[in-house]
Symmetry: C2
Subunit: 205 residues, 2 copies
């Protein structure tokens, strides 16, 4: 569409929305016109939510997860097992692990994985602070829960080399056939690993 | 995902984004985290664009198109043919027709079409103001450019009944085979109409 905006204000708003990832100009137009039809308070609430988040959100000084306070809800919860730390890439991964309700330890958010192609080196990630955390003591196990990609594997190995001398127990999340998947559609590498890393069976899984 | 938000501010921002049409909670999360990674000024500019639009955008008192001024750019342009009015459903349709660069007249934005199932009657649309505009004189032709749906046809007919006594020339945009389409895939109704409403051919289309 060769755009002839009837309003410069509209053009600016559409331009801002179109900067969001995965939002094209047509979608941006639809979203902006939707907001334009809402009550002024609704639009204010929308804009306010994002600016307040940007202005006031902190990153937990312990695990670097997003937080409303200096130390996040998880790190400051005495019910959690502070001797176990799960290393994840980002905030969404913390939420994904939390959603399983299978983990009661703490986290460490790296902020990404080592990816030379994207110009992300170890220094851009919260790896040094992880090493410091382990050195400070009290941590028995570090669980690596990064993406099962080449970048994730590289990062796992880098962290392994850093933490191994410290004598902390290191583990990596299980790789195998996803629950609900059929064997014939699984890729060979995954299926191979699931056989090599088979677990004892005692009637229930 | 059984969401355990690590931050109430994050939860609020994601909730606001998830209210947008076609944006689910996962997409909302992705958009919010994207904005959170931007510079504070970028986020302010984003929020400011939409609140300024809502606060300052006007609707043209002549054609009801969105405008930064009392009368929109199109209606106040002396180069445009003020004797022709194209009736469209919404602002996006004005932009779509403008993008064709085939039309030099003015517009009239109805704000929708008659749709009893959605509770939209003629009184909810800018139909009375269209009748007033025609009664005021100076308009030779009204072009109906609504969706080719049952609701669009109903609205076309309603407007026809209102304007017909006023002796203004009424026309409707051509319905036929879309440019680039193959005949065998066209539906019967469209193909039938395109034959009935065939146009004289003089070497070029």
């Amino acid at each position: 569409m060769n755009e002839q905006f009837p309003s410069a204000l509209l053009e600016r708003a559409v331009g801002e929305f179109a900067k969001l990832p995965g939002v094209g100009r047509k979608t941006a137009m639809r979203l902006v016109l939707h907001l334009l039809r809402q009550e002024p308070e609704t639009v204010e609430a929308f804009a306010n939510a994002i600016t307040t988040l940007k202005r006031e959100a902190k990153f937990c000084k312990v695990c670097h997860n997003i937080s409303d306070t200096e130390t996040c809800r998880i790190c400051s919860n005495p019910q959690r097992d502070a001797s176990t730390v799960c290393v994840v890439e980002n905030i969404r991964d913390v939420m994904a692990v939390e959603a399983t309700q299978q983990y009661r330890g703490l986290y460490h958010v790296l902020g990404g994985v080592i990816s030379p192609i994207d110009g992300i080196g170890p220094g851009d990630l919260q790896i040094d602070s992880l090493v410091e955390r382990v050195k400070a003591g009290g941590i028995n196990e570090v669980i690596l829960a990064l993406s099962t990609t080449m970048e994730g594997d590289t990062t796992n190995f880098y962290i392994y080399r850093k933490l191994e001398p410290l004598g902390v127990k290191l583990s990596v999340i299980a790789r195998g056939i996803a629950v609900g998947d059929e064997l014939e559609y699984a890729d060979e590498v995954t299926l191979g690993r699931s056989i090599v890393n088979r677990t004892p069976f005692s009637g229930v899984i």
